[in-house]
């Protein structure tokens, strides 16, 4: 499994390196802005950091789905499937590497943002207004904000993305197996992706209600819900690969 994970990382390290470079660049701008108390620089760097976080996590996930598609639809598939590893291990390595990267990046970005916010609080006296605004955005109330809650809310978002990546894996595998040879297999698997995500959304709302209520218990339970879905989609995808995939 270790070797599989190593080679999965090898396939995508350039993309991750690029995201890291952008983050480092905007973080340097942010620190410069803090040092010089330059609000223009701070605004630009914060925007850059937020965009890098969102785009970075999105790109890492989507690139992982692209790699799986390439690994089962091109001749490079032999590199994986001629080795004495089951589909469960092969997909498991991809899930661990890609979703792990998203999780680690997510935690990294969360930690960085908390650190940057703390720096802002220390450097600026009037930053409380901004914190209150974030508090309203996240918790729905002024004064409810705390760093643990903020971290968990972000982690909830990251786990929601991790489950969607696994759903993307399932769609790609359905396209290459059950729909193979169909003229519209790409479109149909995308429709399957949308339908399943809508169904999951309905199930989520049926369990938790469609109103967003901020509480730590709710956030932890949400993370658990997405973790369960990630596991479920991994098992279904690996089973299809094991029984239906011909490369």
């Amino acid at each position: 499994m270790g070797a599989l994970i190593k080679y999965e990382f090898r396939k995508s390290w350039k993309m991750k390196g690029l995201v890291l470079c952008f983050t480092a660049f905007f973080e340097l701008l942010f620190l410069l802005g803090i040092w010089r108390l330059n609000e223009d620089l701070l605004a630009a760097s914060c925007t850059g950091l937020v965009l890098t976080t969102i785009c970075g996590l999105f790109l890492i996930g989507v690139y992982g789905i692209h790699i799986l598609s390439k690994d089962i639809n091109t001749k490079q598939s032999y590199m994986l499937f001629m080795t004495p590893n089951s589909s469960y291990k092969i997909l498991g390595a991809k899930v661990i590497e890609n979703c792990g990267s998203v999780l680690v990046s997510g935690v990294f970005f969360i930690a960085l943002s908390i650190l940057d916010m703390m720096l802002l609080v220390v450097r600026y006296d009037d930053v409380q207004g901004l914190i209150d605004l974030m508090s309203v955005a996240i918790t729905g109330d002024v004064g409810n904000f705390n760093y643990q809650g903020f971290g968990m809310a972000c982690f909830d978002g990251v786990m929601g993305w991790v489950y969607l990546i696994c759903l993307g894996y399932l769609a790609v595998v359905i396209c290459a197996t059950l729909l193979k040879g169909n003229r519209f297999n790409g479109l149909l698997s995308f429709v399957a992706f949308l339908v399943i995500s809508l169904v999951v959304n309905h199930i989520h709302d049926a369990i938790y209600g469609d109103l967003y209520i901020y509480s730590m218990t709710r956030l932890i339970s949400n993370v658990g819900f997405y973790a369960l879905l990630t596991l479920l989609f991994y098992l279904i995808t690996a089973w299809i690969m094991d029984n239906k995939l011909s490369v």
Binding site: K75, Y78, M79, F81, M82, P84, G181
Partner: protein
């Protein structure tokens, strides 16, 4: 022992392999012969566990081929399949990471014989060099079964000799070697048995020496007879 029981593979209405039953025993080199599209590659991929048969089963040592049989079966595809970012050295390292029977020393030796440098990038190799690399990395395994799909394709005459020598070197009492090729004449001196596949069906399995001695016919002429409907042979 590798054995195929009534194996059939259908792709969207097209039958690529139809009810093929063959038995490959250790200690022999087999040639799998047939025109393009006859089903040789599909059968080999099924035996390597890359494709699942529509019906029938292929067994290695009485167990259906699958994940564990890949430890003992070394398959070389006719198409290049290495990752673009790999160098020749990375390919060897990759095999070393995944196959316990891979020998880096044997790989290095074969690279030297085939005049390939480890630092070369796979995507920059010519088709001939890629073919040599595929053979080198596959034969550097100490596998029980070797299946080489068109190993002589795209390589020059001298390199062909090197490939054929590597095949002979790996022949042993406990090994099965299966080679598919269109270059029947070149295989004739190397193989013990010839498996003819025609239009997805097994057209026959012949012992090459028996063909020469008793039927007074070369493997190439037998090929012409099977596929060209020409009557060959005569007095020895």
């Amino acid at each position: 022992m590798l054995e195929s029981f009534e194996v059939t593979k259908k792709f969207l209405g097209k039958t690529a392999v139809d009810g093929i039953s063959i038995k490959l025993e250790p200690g022999h080199i087999y040639a799998m012969l047939g025109p393009n599209g006859s089903g040789k590659t599909t059968w080999m991929k099924m035996a390597a566990g890359l494709i699942k048969p529509t019906s029938g089963v292929i067994k290695y040592n009485d167990q259906p081929v699958g994940v564990s049989s890949r430890n003992d079966i070394a398959y070389m595809s006719t198409e290049p399949y290495f990752y673009d970012w790999m160098t020749v050295g990375d390919v060897g390292k990759y095999y070393e990471d995944f196959f316990k029977d891979f020998s880096m020393e044997a790989f290095d030796e074969m690279l030297q014989e085939m005049d390939l440098e480890k630092k070369l990038k796979c995507k920059e190799l010519s088709s001939g060099m890629l073919a040599k690399l595929k053979v080198a990395v596959t034969m550097a395994r100490d596998a029980k079964v070797y299946m080489l799909d068109e190993p002589l394709n795209g390589i020059d005459l001298l390199a062909r000799d090197e490939v054929l020598n590597a095949i002979i070197r790996h022949a042993g009492e406990d090994k099965v070697l299966l080679v598919s090729s269109h270059l029947v004449e070149e295989l004739e001196s190397v193989v013990d048995y010839a498996i003819f596949i025609n239009k997805s069906h097994l057209a026959g399995v012949y012992e090459v020496e028996e063909l020469r001695q008793n039927q007074c016919i070369s493997l190439a002429d037998k090929y012409r007879e099977v596929y060209g409907a020409a009557e060959m042979g005569g007095t020895c």
